[in-house]
């Protein structure tokens, strides 16, 4: 069908060279259905006939009038009918019948709908349940027994507010809510993908996020800084560098990068794509990255919108060196004034130079060692033969021939036949007793010839290079020798090869002058390293070379099409946009995103805050406010919250106060079957939805059980740069058991997350994660039952309890309930626990009592009441 374009509604309706392919009036006449039927000459799809059911689906669709999703063309005037693209309007608060239930406007919006549906909110949860819920929600830790007592003792209505204020003022708050944002920002401490190089300064961005939440940084500013903080004036007018602003752009810099991709332009545009994906999901709840290869299938986002944004990130500095080597070099940006950075760089260079000087001396000594032995190569080989072939002993043979014993031993080890073929030794193995001496001689001559050849080549090059330099001509390349050019030579000279100078022999072999030189150099190196400043660097972006971006046809970097100007999606920002004439456009993007005029920014964040309190968002697809996303269950409430959010100066803490002091947040999770039946998915929010502790909450609160949680804030728990050998455990993230710090501070190595993280649904740090999943699988249960970590916590708690002379066993049980489950134990439960401990099948060992108590503590930890927040 010549000219047929099925990409767009227009192309589809127009049809091919033979006109339209569907007839809505008489579907059976449609040529499309004819082709699918396989009964006409034109058969589609060519790979095989569709099933009857599928053909029936197509027929039904044609009968429906062949509806098509909203095409970008429909938004040509810049407008869109999509609900989320409309301006936020603060709606009137609805009237409700049950005036007493509603504590604030949030409640009125919810209650109005419940009343419409004939639903009633479930009664409030008891105070301790609310306290546990609020405490985990805001700081990710359980309430302490003292906090429980204080809250129970305060009978005033203000008690609830006091708790919320106390929690919001705690530095633990930023560690919990910052982590929510880090999920959205797909935060990690390494590049993931292929090489998984460390992002050595990623932690600065993490600490920035935690601080931003603790400081209640206005969200619009928070958004702007993450896109272009480096281009904004610092908060402190006296600061010469906006360090915080630079660090904030870690949001862009910390994505997954396939840094050993050989097709470097592709790598670069994959990075740009990753930034568009994360930025559009995080701030706008849009899947703009879908428009990389084709116009967005469902939302009014044409490919030109995508490349208009790509142009901004493509004009941003992303790498230190993209294509200088197989593995592209990451970009680290200074965050200190020039002189401080200069001092740091100078110190780095001094250290590198000093190391080079040390290697030079060592290299010359290694060469001297080799040259001493090279003229005896044949003797070494012949003596080695006697060892590996005839069972000779190294010591007497070395003595007999005047050889060094360890060199001879290494030579024998090297020459000993192996099962793998070594072509370089085949002439040696082919030699007979009669010819072996000659063969050895030939190996020696060849060896000496290679030394001479390489040295001559280098000398010649040095002369040529000097002459070229003097004449101002380009310096020729240094001669390059491959290991495979003379494999025998390479292996004999290898550090651990026969002629390599072993570590332990260096002292004896080195010339006195070398030793003296090395001693001085090493002392100097140590002094340099001791006074080296901390790297004043961040993983961040910068302005790059300004690119005149073209659409890349089908997303292929090697297939440029029409040019596009830097701008924002037309359906959102309109056609009439201020042109971006200088710089990358990041600053303009930052201001457009972090603005009350953007219809999505406040809505998307208000929805996230709601979701992180209530388990689900008002829009249940928090990263997708597009056509395929869900519509809000309460559009008016969402707009009300978005408007309040902006009015409050984009204060997230104000949002917590609003939501948490509502009756909605006070509801119980216990609903009767009738109540559940009426609101099965809780889309009317007629009850509170229980949730499982997230991995951070679980690990951190286990560490509070025995008081071992280390509350130190910030900084790096990972050392080094680059990556590690494939078989190295250093590839893995730091093991959670190796520190008592809060889980948010554990480095996240993308390619190898700690098992604990994957086990408890941390998610995938490679992509923006708007909502953790909750699974219930056996390996999690094994962790609770058998892990050393849980054993230690349970054991420590048990021994604390047993040590407390002031308590009897019943008192100990009650205390355990308060600490682990944050509630009192009923008399039944105390009896149950005491008979459990008394009946524990003992093995007769002395510590039977401690074993039983440890086991009892673990039963509490492994129970649903610990793992779930009600």
């Amino acid at each position: 069908m010549g000219g047929l374009n099925l990409e767009t509604a227009k192309g589809f309706r127009k049809g091919g060279a033979h006109g339209p392919i569907v007839s809505v009036e008489s579907p059976e006449q449609s040529r499309l259905l004819g082709a699918l039927s396989y009964e006409q000459p034109l058969r589609m799809p060519p790979t095989g006939k569709l099933s009857d059911a599928e053909i029936a689906d197509v027929r039904r669709w044609v009968e429906m009038g062949a509806p098509w999703p909203e095409a970008p063309a429909d938004a040509a005037d810049g407008g869109s009918t999509l609900w989320s693209f409309q301006p936020v309007k603060k709606p009137a608060v609805p009237a409700v019948q049950d005036i007493a239930w509603a504590r604030n406007d949030v409640d009125r919006f919810l209650l109005a709908k419940m009343e419409e549906q004939g639903l009633e909110p479930v009664p409030p949860a008891d105070k301790l349940t609310w306290l546990r819920r609020a405490t985990f929600d805001l700081i990710g830790l359980p309430p302490t027994p003292a906090e429980m007592d204080a809250f129970l003792a305060d009978k005033t209505e203000g008690a609830y507010e006091a708790v919320v204020e106390r929690l919001l003022a705690s530095p633990r708050y930023g560690e919990r809510w910052g982590r929510h944002w880090l999920d959205v920002a797909r935060y990690a401490d390494s590049t993931g993908a292929d090489e998984d190089h460390r992002y050595p300064y990623a932690w600065r961005y993490r600490d920035y996020v935690i601080k931003a939440f603790n400081d209640d940084k206005p969200y619009d500013r928070f958004v702007q800084e993450q896109i272009a903080g480096d281009l904004m004036p610092p908060d402190d007018p006296n600061a010469r560098v906006n360090a915080e602003g630079i660090v904030a752009t870690g949001f862009l810099a910390l994505g997954t990068k396939l840094i050993a991709e050989i097709d470097k332009p592709k790598l670069f545009y994959d990075v740009v794509d990753e930034q568009i994906d994360t930025t559009s999901k995080a701030f706008l709840g849009l899947t703009l990255a879908c428009a990389r290869c084709h116009d967005h299938k469902f939302d009014p986002l044409p490919t030109t919108d995508y490349y208009a944004m790509a142009s901004i990130f493509a004009s941003t500095k992303q790498f230190e060196d993209l294509d200088g080597a197989v593995v592209s070099k990451l970009y680290f940006r200074p965050i200190a004034p020039d002189e401080e950075v200069a001092a740091y760089e100078a110190s780095n260079k001094e250290i590198a130079d000093k190391k080079a000087e040390i290697s030079k001396v060592e290299g010359l000594e290694s060469k001297r060692y080799r040259d001493q032995h090279a003229p005896r190569l044949a003797s070494y080989m012949l003596a080695a033969y006697q060892i590996y072939s005839e069972g000779g002993e190294a010591a007497p043979l070395a003595k007999r021939d005047g050889l060094e014993q360890d060199v001879l031993e290494r030579m024998a080890e090297y020459l000993k036949p192996q099962r793998e073929r070594r072509p370089q030794l085949e002439a040696w193995y082919a030699a007979t007793d009669a010819t072996r001496a000659t063969a050895a001689q030939q190996y020696q001559e060849s060896f000496l010839a290679t030394i001479e050849l390489r040295e001559n080549a280098e000398k010649t090059w040095e002369k040529e290079a000097a002459a070229a330099k003097a004449a101002g001509k380009p310096v020729p390349d240094k001669p390059k020798f491959f290991a495979g050019d003379d494999r025998f030579f390479t292996e004999i000279n290898a550090a651990k090869g026969p002629f390599g100078l072993p570590e332990e022999k260096r002292d004896a072999f080195y010339l006195d002058e070398s030793k003296a030189a090395l001693e001085t150099l090493r002392a100097e190196l140590k002094a340099l390293e001791d006074k080296a400043p901390n790297p004043p660097m961040a993983c961040a972006v910068n302005e790059g070379e300004i690119v005149d971006q073209k659409v890349l046809v089908r997303g292929n970097v090697h297939n440029p099409g029409e040019p596009v100007a830097k701008r924002f999606p037309i359906a959102l920002a309109g056609r009439d946009q201020e042109p971006i004439t200088s710089g990358s456009g990041r600053l303009e993007l930052a201001h457009w995103l972090g603005s009350e005029h953007n219809p999505l920014t406040a809505r998307v964040m208000a929805n996230r805050i709601w979701q992180w309190h209530f388990g689900e968002g008002l829009v249940r697809t928090p990263n997708n406010f597009g056509k395929l996303g869900e519509k809000p269950t309460h559009p008016e409430l969402l707009d009300y919250l978005a408007a309040r959010f902006v009015e409050s100066g984009w204060s997230i803490k104000q949002m917590h106060r609003l939501l948490m002091l509502s009756s909605a947040y006070r509801m119980s999770a216990d609903a009767t079957p009738e109540q559940r039946e009426k609101d099965q998915e809780n889309r009317y929010w007629s009850r509170f939805e229980p949730r499982r502790l997230e991995v951070e909450e679980m690990r951190d609160s286990l560490l509070t059980l025995d008081g071992s949680l280390d509350l130190t804030m910030g900084g790096a728990l990972m050392e080094g740069q680059g990556t590690d050998k494939e078989f190295s455990d250093a590839r893995k993230s730091l093991h959670p058991d190796s520190t008592k710090r809060r889980t948010v501070y554990l480095p996240v190595r993308r390619s190898n997350l700690p098992t604990l993280f994957s086990l408890f649904d941390f998610g995938d740090a490679a992509i923006s994660n708007a909502q953790r999943t909750q699974t219930n699988v056996a390996p999690q249960a094994l962790y609770m039952m058998n892990s050393e970590f849980v054993e230690e916590r349970a054991g420590a708690l048990a021994s604390e309890l047993l040590k407390d002379e002031a308590l009897d066993d019943a008192g100990r049980v009650r205390e355990a309930y308060r600490i682990v489950l944050n509630r009192p134990a009923t008399a039944d439960r105390v009896d149950q626990a005491l008979s459990y401990i008394a009946g524990f099948p003992t093995d007769g060992s002395e510590d039977a009592r401690s074993l039983a108590w440890t086991s009892f503590c673990r039963t509490l930890i492994a129970s649903n009441q610990f793992l779930y927040v009600n």
Binding site: E420, R421, G484, N624, P779
Partner: protein, 483 residues
């Protein structure tokens, strides 16, 4: 139940009620027995319950033998007489992008001789004398194509279909689509996977729920002896006896059941009760699966466990058979990238030494596995797939090595109704490009899913605004590989 929990609309249309839920998950699932064992009227949902394939399947399970590093196809299963003649000459056509751009040289012939084997007379080189004995069972795909010249992208693409984006691994898709018949062992097990070149991404479930991720047993660099001490983490309680632990578990379950609200729906809490019971059973079943002490000496010898060269991969192959017997759905074994602290297949230099060494490590174990699968009647319904992330160039690198070649290389399949003694597709006269019946990695995935009874374009998951699948928008089933 929250929509983000399993069995939600992502897998099925929304579950409207407990009754509907039970109806939908009851077919063919053994948790009724479990429910009665618990003495409770619960039937928890299980996302890994066995599911019917789209059409009758040839294969019930997959064993994927991954040759990390990239074995040379022209030195193993794809002989190139023209290369012998042109040895030392420059490549007569433009060289495509290679990994080591600066160090490639002229055409280099294979240092190994090929011989014809079996009834089919398919040629195999001296590197694989044991596998060669099974050539009549192999469908040798000589026309593999991938998109990445570097390991990272290539390994990710082979395992997940994408060399760029984060996608679920093939094993995750398979168990998402089919569930598993053995609830006492993980459905997708990967033995000694590499930590480099994507690491855990290669067995991750990405945006599929976490339950579909592969369970790694050890990793590259860990010795088999070390690994056998605790093949799966947290499988063993160091302080409690089995009966003490049962006593403890009964208490936990008593507490958990007390929080179930009467007749109330609470599939999430019920699932947790079940997970605890399953964990308890895994504690006995899994160690038994990994305990090879009862295998005969003859069997151990068959896999080369008596030889230092073959012991590691031999153990993996033997484990593959033991896990296949226990109906683990997707079994991946890996010959590691750097056995014994130097590269294996990835012979950028020293092709001769490194390929003889690496082939020695895997040849006998692979042949042993094929023999043993046959003896146990498992080859009929197990799809065995062998290969690396790419092949190697017909031109030399660094004098005596070969560079990466994703443009045309070899993998092979066996079992599960695959045509044996059959060569599918072909590369050009030097073995650089696939020219006939090209099988892209997407096509390989489509073909694997086909063997398992699934349409690759119907195994989808709705995420972030659209349906995703293992084969993206590509993938053609190579019908010809099936008998």
């Amino acid at each position: 139940m929250n929509s983000r929990q399993l069995n939600s609309r992502h897998l099925n249309p929304p579950v409207r009620s407990r009754r509907e839920f039970l109806r939908r998950t009851s077919a063919g699932f053994g948790s009724l027995a479990l429910a009665s064992m618990l003495g409770a009227d619960v039937q928890a949902p299980h996302p890994l319950a066995p599911k019917q394939p789209h059409f009758p399947a040839r294969a019930k399970r997959v064993i994927f033998m991954f040759m990390h590093g990239g074995p040379s196809h022209i030195d193993t299963f794809d002989p190139k007489p023209a290369l012998d003649k042109a040895h030392g000459q420059p490549l007569p056509f433009d060289r495509p992008l290679t990994f080591a751009e600066g160090s490639t040289g002229a055409l280099m012939r294979s240092p190994w001789k090929f011989k014809q084997y079996g009834q089919s007379g398919l040629p195999v080189s001296e590197l694989f004398p044991h596998v060669a004995q099974h050539v009549d069972d192999l469908c040798i795909v000589r026309s593999m194509v991938g998109d990445s010249v570097a390991h990272g992208g290539a390994v990710l693409q082979l395992n997940t279909g994408s060399n760029t984006f984060t996608r679920p691994s093939a094993g995750s898709w398979v168990i998402y689509g089919l569930g598993t018949e053995n609830q006492n062992l993980p459905a997708f097990i990967t033995l000694k996977p590499g930590l480099s070149h994507g690491g855990a991404k290669n067995w991750s479930s990405a945006f599929l729920p976490g339950i579909y991720q592969g369970t790694p047993v050890g990793h590259g660099g860990v010795s088999v002896d070390e690994l056998m001490k605790e093949p799966i983490e947290h499988l063993h309680n160091s302080r409690l006896s089995m009966s003490q632990q049962r006593y403890e578990l009964d208490m936990i379950q008593k507490m958990n059941r007390a929080t179930l609200r009467g007749q109330d729906d609470d599939p999430d809490l019920e699932a947790r009760i079940e997970a605890l019971e399953l964990a308890f059973r895994m504690q006995t079943e899994a160690p038994e699966a990994f305990d090879i002490s009862k295998e005969t000496e003859a069997t151990k010898k068959l896999y080369g466990l008596d030889d230092d060269y073959t012991r590691d991969f031999g153990w993996q192959c033997l484990m593959a058979r033991r896990l296949a017997e226990r109906n683990v759905r997707f079994i991946q074994i890996s010959h590691e990238y750097g056995p014994g602290n130097e590269v294996g297949w990835d012979a950028h230099s020293e092709l001769i030494r490194l390929h003889t060494r690496t082939a020695l490590m895997v040849d006998k174990p692979i042949a042993g596995l094929l023999t043993d699968l046959k003896a146990h009647g498992l080859l009929e319904d197990t799809l065995v797939v062998w290969g690396g992330e790419f092949g190697r160039t017909p031109i030399s690198q660094a004098g005596d090595g070969r560079d990466h070649n994703p443009y045309g290389y070899t993998m092979w399949m066996a079992g599960a109704g695959v045509k044996g003694g059959y060569a599918y597709g072909a590369t050009d006269e030097f073995g650089y490009y696939a020219v006939e019946d090209r099988m892209h990695i997407h096509d390989l995935h489509a073909t694997m899913l086909h063997a398992l009874g699934m349409h690759h374009d119907k195994l989808t998951y709705f995420y972030s605004g659209r349906n995703f699948r293992l084969t993206d928008v590509e993938g053609v089933v190579a019908e010809k590989v099936f008998a």
